[in-house]
Symmetry: C2
Subunit: 284 residues, 2 copies
């Protein structure tokens, strides 16, 4: 793709990793951070060529990537909005699209809603790493009002750092992440809560001694960063509630099979779940 | 410990691994397998010094380890029972203790109910490996009728191959494994079932593309061997149903917090689940 001057707002896991990859592609990268301390560390790590806490840093950029947490994407600061060049293409990295589109559709003419997916448990200025996006999905959720040139440019950018571009609508996106990404957090947290609710201390003491890899894996995302879970629940609220509802139906159905001791049916159910997981994760 | 002639019934993951470790300790190990084919392969792998499909192989053993799947522990074959030396100490490896004790308390005078815990996803004659039990719990669940000499010998055996001995009652054992080992399977399977129940194909196609490590981890045990899940549900039935009940309460409580958008409370809940996981898995 043509070389650009690219502004990245926020140099955490996503922004910092993009800074590293985009510099490697030959672009000029300007990073905007909130704190001086972060700016200093980001300079040390080489996350961008130019880094500042002053929004003026992005004045001449033709592409702006908003790599901020959900709350700051949904309630962007006045200073940031004032600093965005009107002619630039602006895209974001938020994991929920409908509330972000609601905020941004009237804020900038060249806004493209995006969600580059890349998970590590790291966060903050130390987290950025090279090649984080290789082979990972980068979803864009344009609508009728999206500038097609801006959309093409974002896809070109995504492809250039190895992402697989996926285009869908914001509704489908938010429902799909609720099902496979947000719901697991609350399922997993509920297991930890069930353990916390247990009153029998002798049982708990033994349970702690024998909790093993199965427990560790099933509870991993429910024992993660509380702020991430909180942001999901707040900004993808109705989709998560729908997913929980559908999940409880499935739990009730399995419980009924166990309660009625219908082993033939349970065997079919467990064969199906095994097959479903293989299909979903391409383990076949 | 003194050297013994030890019989192992079944040379899968647990039995095969014990065979390797116990030979290293200097014991004479006799393995009994169901099929000739397995016996041949077990000989090739050196899982025991003497291996046969004929129950007579265990005639002179002073310790017998029943390393069989739950159904065969709860409904042992006549041939096996007839072959057990009356003076030997007999112990088992079943992951549910009450139904096994119910079966065995009148079958052999020196029976000690045990549960060496060691998880890998492998099974069968190829699965046995050295040092599988090092640092892992080996639970015994004696009652008033248990022969104390036999119990001591089983604990000595467990310690000799690196296990951490835990003694508790069968009730507590079965409830604890229901909570941290069996419940996760059905929670996890329910998530896969919720995905299977989803009717929106566009959503499913996207969900499959974006399902990532969080989904993979949360669904791992629910997408495992159907026979294991089936045996848990059948032989630890009431404890699993109790755990599902308690889990659903927790899920409902979290859902209520999300539905009423009580973010302060949700933050506390998610901080608690994070802390609970760290406590349980000694991550502090």
């Amino acid at each position: 793709m043509d070389l650009h001057r690219i502004g990245i707002i926020g140099l955490g896991l996503i922004g910092g990793s993009m800074g590293l990859d985009l510099q490697k592609q030959g672009h000029e990268v300007c990073g905007l951070t909130h704190k001086e301390e972060t700016a200093t560390r980001a300079k040390d790590r080489g996350l961008a060529q130019f880094i500042s806490t002053d929004p003026k840093i992005i004045a001449d950029c033709s592409i702006i990537i908003l790599a901020l947490p959900l709350p700051q994407l949904i309630h962007p600061s006045r200073d940031l909005l004032d600093a965005l060049p009107t002619n630039a293409v602006v895209t974001d990295v938020g994991s929920v699209k409908k509330p972000i589109i609601k905020t941004w559709k009237n804020l900038h003419p060249n806004f493209v809603a995006g969600h580059p997916m890349a998970g590590t448990i790291q966060s903050g200025v130390e987290a950025g790493q090279k090649d984080l996006f290789v082979g990972r999905p980068w979803i864009t959720t344009p609508d009728d009002t999206t500038n097609q040139h801006a959309l093409s440019l974002v896809k070109e950018l995504a492809t250039s750092i190895g992402s697989k571009c996926i285009t869908t609508d914001a509704d489908t996106h938010d429902q799909a992440v609720a099902l496979v990404s947000h719901l697991p957090v609350f399922i997993s947290a509920s297991l930890l809560k069930a353990v916390s609710n247990e009153k029998n201390n002798q049982l708990l003491t033994l349970a702690k001694k024998i909790a093993s890899s199965g427990f560790a894996d099933t509870t991993r995302v429910g024992g993660g960063n509380p702020n991430l879970g909180l942001a999901m629940a707040e900004y993808n609220n109705s989709e998560i509630l729908n997913s929980i509802h559908s999940y409880r139906e499935s739990l009730n159905q399995l419980e009924e099979v166990i309660r009625t001791q219908n082993w033939q049916k349970l065997e079919i159910e467990l064969q199906n779940t095994k097959q479903r997981r293989s299909d979903f994760l391409d383990l076949n």
